[in-house]
Amino acid sequence: MTVSADTTVVAPEPAVPPAETTFQLLMREFLSSRLAILGLVVVVIFALAAILAPWLAPQNPYDLAQLNIMDSKMPPGSESMEGYRYWLGTDGQGRDMLSGILYGLRISLIVGAGSAVLACMFGASLGLLAGYVGGRIDAFIMRVVDLHLSFPTVLIALMILAVLGTGIMNVVIAIMVVEWAYYARTVRATAMVEREKEYVQAAECLVLPRRRILFRHLLPNCMPPLIVIATMQVARAISLEATLSFLGIGVPITEPSLGLLIANGYEHVLTGEYWISITPGVALLVLIVAINLVGDRLREILNPRNRT
């Protein structure tokens, strides 16, 4: 990482023992919480499962040739005619739920992470600019942010998707538009504090270009709160995507995410085939809670006020 060069120059008297870098210290602190380790392990397992879905899944849920309509709506653990066991049951089309969930996880994670990264880039840039430049630009950006935050997230996403129509790319755009303001507000607050510090003045004295000061000097020092909020926002993005897809205005039916799988199963809830809706729901829930656990721990260790 090139950014670390700037941080090490400016880091004042290190409060850590010299043998340990800041990163190692943070790692050790992070790992001292069992819940956080559990959360991290679950997130890593889910991410790996999503990446390796085509190899892990017993069946390709998009390949109609592999589906057997005779196997539809089988409860978890039941066996197909060919002696194949559906551990999580099958849905209305005879699709193996486990395979469906693995593929759905992929789409949920792509949308969640993708929109979070985009929102972070856009929001953090505006926040940095507002915090560093101040004045009218700051007032304008912050007025827009305030306004934006006064509308509920679901509503803004609904507006955008009502205009743009459904599709994975549109969902990512909608969630990005919904979330950038949170990043902007957080980064601006940190940037305003950092702006007054000596290393920024030093960089200004060297007449470095503004873009370099913003992204190479200021940004690395605004990272801790940004990392925390980014983690939390990934969970929120996944949850929002699931909600939108459940409402039928999110991802298309050909690329079902966890939310859409839950929606598909919802039709069968009233007739008692509850697992079609529950199993992807449990996967979604475990993922969201795990990410939140990691985020909570990150907030604890990265918040300077909690440092002893």
Binding site: L158, T243, L247, Y266, S277, I278, G281, L284, N292
Partner: protein, 324 residues
């Protein structure tokens, strides 16, 4: 105060203008306005007639002005599906949504405040730790998922409560309401709790934080030293001071409850505005979509304005800060 209010009003007006521009641009530039405004069953000659009549051959800014002119007269076009004015349609669904949102807010306050008070007064007891852990779930569980679980447990498994619809309604003050009949109440309870869950967690945490902060203040210590009964200290002195932030948040959150009602209404087939917009998006009933979006934007601007004015009246510091 007057100039502050005037500026605030101008800002509100600007927001509505910007939203109307975005919605208009979305419908007219990104989508094909002919396809949007003319029913797909129209013949070629009808199409051309309608295009000239609607002024779709005019430049875009003229079209926008015409749209605003019509909108100000309450005319946002007719719904393709119901063939009645879109705005009337949205308004006719408003009472059902308001009923649901109001019940959810009421439940949120009635459950959240006492629980929060308990957690604030006995922060170390096992029960309050349990309640606090539960409130984290209330924050992180997606609303639609909880709704499905409610239906599976209470409607399908136990068969206690109906899974959707409004049930029997009674006419009162010109519209029909569910909460006045037993059947209607049974239909109302699951969606209301579902919608309230997030609010309960929020009000609970707010009350707890306020209680813990206020308990250590001098006037509480003084009331204790005076020998007042704990009941009176908590019920009058403490409550009075923690209620201001709670009331403001409850007011502010009312808007977000209406927005989140979209999800709850879809799950429980509650015939409110939220269900209408989702159904309209499915069938591309664009006049209704436009009418809903503009109305909800106006609603939000009004709520935010009211809260701001209320703040300024309650707390003079806001006014000074706003003028600086």
């Amino acid at each position: 105060m007057t100039s502050w209010l005037l500026r605030r009003l101008m800002q509100a007006l600007m927001v509505v203008t910007v939203v109307s521009m975005i919605v208009f641009a979305g419908v007219n530039v990104i989508g094909d306005p002919v396809e949007i405004l003319i029913s797909p069953e129209a013949t070629q000659i009808e199409r051309e007639q309608i295009i000239t009549r609607l002024g779709l051959d005019q430049p875009i800014w003229k079209q926008y002005l015409a749209f605003v002119g019509n909108a100000l007269q309450g005319n946002l076009g007719n719904s393709f599906v119901y063939n009645e004015p879109a705005l009337d349609l949205v308004f006719s669904r408003l009472p059902a949504t308001l009923e649901l949102a109001f019940c959810a807010m009421l439940l949120g306050s009635l459950i959240g405040i006492p629980l929060g008070l308990f957690c604030g007064l006995y922060p170390d007891s096992k029960l309050s730790r349990l309640i606090m852990a539960g409130s984290i779930l209330g924050f992180s569980l997606p609303t639609f998922w909880v709704g499905i679980i409610f239906i599976i447990v209470f409607s399908v498994h136990f068969g206690w409560l109906p899974s959707g619809g409004r049930g029997e309604t009674v006419e009162f003050l010109g519209t029909r309401w569910s909460f006045l009949t037993l059947d209607g109440l049974q239909h109302l309870i699951l969606p209301a709790i579902n919608l309230a869950l997030f609010k309960i967690s929020m009000i609970l945490r707010l009350t707890r934080a306020g209680t813990r902060e206020t308990l250590s203040m001098d006037f509480i210590k003084f009331a204790r030293a005076k020998g007042l009964k704990p009941r009176r200290i908590i019920g009058v002195h403490l409550m009075k001071s923690i209620m201001i932030p709670i009331v403001t948040v409850v007011g502010l959150e009312f808007g977000s409850v209406i927005a989140f009602a979209v999800v709850t209404e879809s799950i429980f087939a509650w015939p409110g505005m939220g269900k209408l917009i989702i159904d309209s998006i499915y069938v591309l009933d664009r006049p209704v979509i436009v009418a809903y979006l503009i109305m909800i934007a106006v609603l939000f601007v009004v709520i935010n304005l009211l809260v701001d004015v209320l703040y300024a009246t309650l707390d003079p510091r806001v006014r000074v800060g706003g003028a600086a």
